[in-house]
């Protein structure tokens, strides 16, 4: 053992492979004179290692997310067909002009917004209520939490298939239940609003429990003395909920709004599968539930117009930016007025 260390030192290769904690500290100090290289390596390590550790993340992100996103804008200024992807013909803003005149785009945009609102608002409100209930001292709290999260483990595919059957017009369970209270069969696929409600239901079912857990975590982080102070001031439980709980979890509420907004601009799998096949991509026979995600797919992979598909993608991105700008504006105005 001792001979090995000394040969390594004599060979002039000290800290190449530091033995770490095993090496006795005294031995290192004695070897100061030729420790120069080891300090250099050490400094190199301390300086460089952090970058080496974060490089994989940024490399993959740059190659497969950032670059394609920027390139999407470039493609959207060209005519590119799926059959000949390397032939790009410059058309400047023609795709955008065509898009703005395309009724299907405005239809898909309005569907995306209405389904987005129909799914996000009830979802977050119900999640808030559920989180409040879960925040009580409970027997079997783990069971209730896991049960609430189970839909999150169900894939879009499976969830949409099940709900398609539950919403079936002639034999679906939902219409059967409605018939018990005297409501006639609803055509959940053919009717525009019914279809949008049905699709929103799938989204709500999958994500309510997940959001509830985010809220619950935030609720549990609210310091207890705030409730104590409110209770001393004579605030009822409902007032405590409004004045302590809601402000206390505000950052999380904003976080979930951002997440759900991003999610609902991208909505794709639910309407596709809900349409059961050929009607899926067009979002129903009259495009009654075609979202921007479906339109993107239809332009690119059904009509073979990749340039136009890129235009839709970029429009979706702009829509997101617009929504967030609007949200910030509203936030600033509301904080100024209060």
């Amino acid at each position: 053992m001792a001979t090995q260390t000394s040969t390594a030192a004599a060979g002039g290769q000290p800290a190449e492979e530091p033995a770490g904690p095993v090496r006795p500290a005294r031995g290192r100090r004695q070897r100061r004179p030729d420790g120069r290289r080891s300090t250099l390596l050490h400094r190199l390590d301390v300086r460089g290692a952090p970058y080496a550790f974060i490089v994989p993340f940024f490399a993959v992100f740059a190659a497969f997310s950032f670059y394609p996103l920027i390139y999407t804008a470039w493609i959207s200024l060209h005519r590119v067909e799926l059959s000949s992807l390397d032939l790009m013909e410059w058309v400047a803003f023609d795709n955008y002009a065509a898009l703005l005149q395309d009724e299907r785009f405005w239809n898909a945009l309005s569907n995306t917004i209405t389904i987005g609102v129909l799914s996000t608002v009830p979802q977050l409100l119900m999640a808030l209520g559920l989180a409040h209930l879960l925040n009580y001292r409970l027997r079997g709290s783990t069971f209730f939490r896991v049960a609430a999260l189970t839909p999150y483990a169900t894939s879009v595919g499976a969830a949409a298939l099940v709900f398609t059957m539950l919403f079936e017009r002639d034999f679906g369970m939902i219409n059967w239940t409605l018939s018990l209270v005297g409501v006639d069969n609803v055509d959940w696929e053919g009717n525009k609003w019914a279809a949008q409600i049905a699709i929103s239901t799938i989204v709500i079912w999958r994500w309510t429990g997940y959001n509830a857990l985010l809220y619950l975590a935030a609720m549990q982080a609210i310091p207890r003395d705030r409730y104590e102070a409110a209770a001393i001031d004579g605030a009822s439980r409902w007032q405590q909920f409004l004045k302590v709980t809601i402000p206390g979890i505000r950052p999380t509420i904003i976080f979930t709004i951002v997440l759900s907004t991003i999610g609902s601009t991208q909505l794709f799998g639910e309407p596709l599968i809900f349409g059961q096949g050929p009607n899926g991509i067009t979002g129903g026979a009259d495009n009654q539930y075609q979202t921007l995600g479906l339109l993107l797919y239809e332009e690119g992979w059904k009509n073979y117009q990749m340039g136009r598909a890129a235009t839709v993608a970029w429009a979706m991105f702009l829509l997101l930016i617009l929504v967030f700008a609007l949200q910030r504006l509203l936030k600033r105005r509301s904080s100024r007025s209060s």
């Binding site: 499976a158 298939l161 398609t164 975590a217």
Partner: protein, 304 residues
């Protein structure tokens, strides 16, 4: 102590002096937060649990009857005798065997690499000092706002050029890392890993990779397990991009399930059998690790 923080979290209030809180229960009750639940709460929570679980239960019911029974009114509420027969048929018709293997490969690879790279980067952001650290961390958080779905057109062109069309690498590579994962690990390590431990490693002359391997990894293990499971769920369920770049000859499970709805198989109970099969692996994971997954999601939320 650090190993059981994650498991402990769901039951214990999230504030920092963990275990001690329990002893001060009376104060908590007076404070109006941790009220004992009344009967109404249990009723409402039971309704919520039923609503959450019923579609899955009914999938099983429908999968265990036959097409004629499923399409009758009133619809069936109790399981029938054909479950295994239907599962077998759906397995063949939707080529679910291949899809399962593909999904295992895809979700497994993505989860392993996400956890590895997120832990590396999370450690660097939490405990190492370097120029531009804050800006780079802000950049990581900013990337969460960029929905990867918007990049599908050039991504598709890229994959075609690489010859990866219809192949699994096309699905795996774009999701090898995750910004949420990096942020999650950073938050965890910032708390769980004492600075002194890293310093001690330095004094002993260990280089950074060695510190990572023998000091950081053992501390990070519980958070890594949670991140693995959450990433696995997401990767298993990912739909848009796999649907675009893969086809029915080589699908993942969610892509294969669309075949069931697309009219190749019109038997409703077979469709449900397929849906059940596609969900089963994740449900099994939830039955075993549900507690840890719930804890992990909540852990990520407080800090995020």
């Amino acid at each position: 102590m650090t190993t059981d923080t994650l498991q402990a979290r769901p039951d214990v209030p999230q504030d920092s002096p963990k275990g001690r809180r329990r002893l001060r229960l009376p104060a908590a009750v007076r404070a109006g937060r941790q009220h004992h639940a009344g009967p109404a709460t249990y009723v409402l929570l039971t309704v919520a649990a039923v609503l959450s679980l019923f579609p899955l239960y009914w999938t099983m019911v429908a999968a265990s009857t036959d097409n004629t029974r499923v399409t009758q009114t009133p619809p069936p509420f109790l399981p029938g005798p054909h479950l295994f027969e239907n599962l077998g048929k759906a397995w063949q018709d939707a080529a679910l065997g291949k899809a399962m293997v593909n999904s295992l490969i895809v979700a497994g690879t993505i989860a392993v690499s996400t956890v590895l790279f997120a832990t590396l980067a999370g450690f660097a952001f939490a405990k190492l000092r370097f120029k531009g650290r804050n800006i780079l961390l802000t950049l990581v958080i900013g990337t969460m706002m960029v929905p990867p779905q918007l990049a599908v057109v050039p991504l598709f062109m890229m994959m075609t050029e690489l010859g990866w069309g219809q192949k699994l690498p096309a699905v795996i590579f774009p999701t090898l890392v995750s910004a949420v994962g990096v942020f999650f690990m950073r938050q965890y390590l910032a708390d769980a890993l004492p600075d002194e431990l890293v310093e001690a490693g330095r004094v002993d002359g260990a280089h950074s990779l060695r510190i990572f391997w023998s000091i950081v990894l053992p501390v990070a293990r519980p958070a890594m397990a949670v991140l693995f499971m959450i990433t696995f769920v997401h990767a298993w369920n990912d739909f848009f991009w796999p649907f675009i770049v893969l086809d029915m000859s080589n699908p993942t499970v969610p892509v294969a399930l669309t075949q069931l709805s697309a009219g190749y198989v019109r038997d409703q109970s077979l469709i449900m059998a397929g849906a059940l099969l596609g969900t089963l692996p994740l449900l099994a994971m939830f039955v075993v690790f549900g507690r840890q997954i719930v804890g992990g999601i909540m852990q990520g939320a407080v800090k995020g």
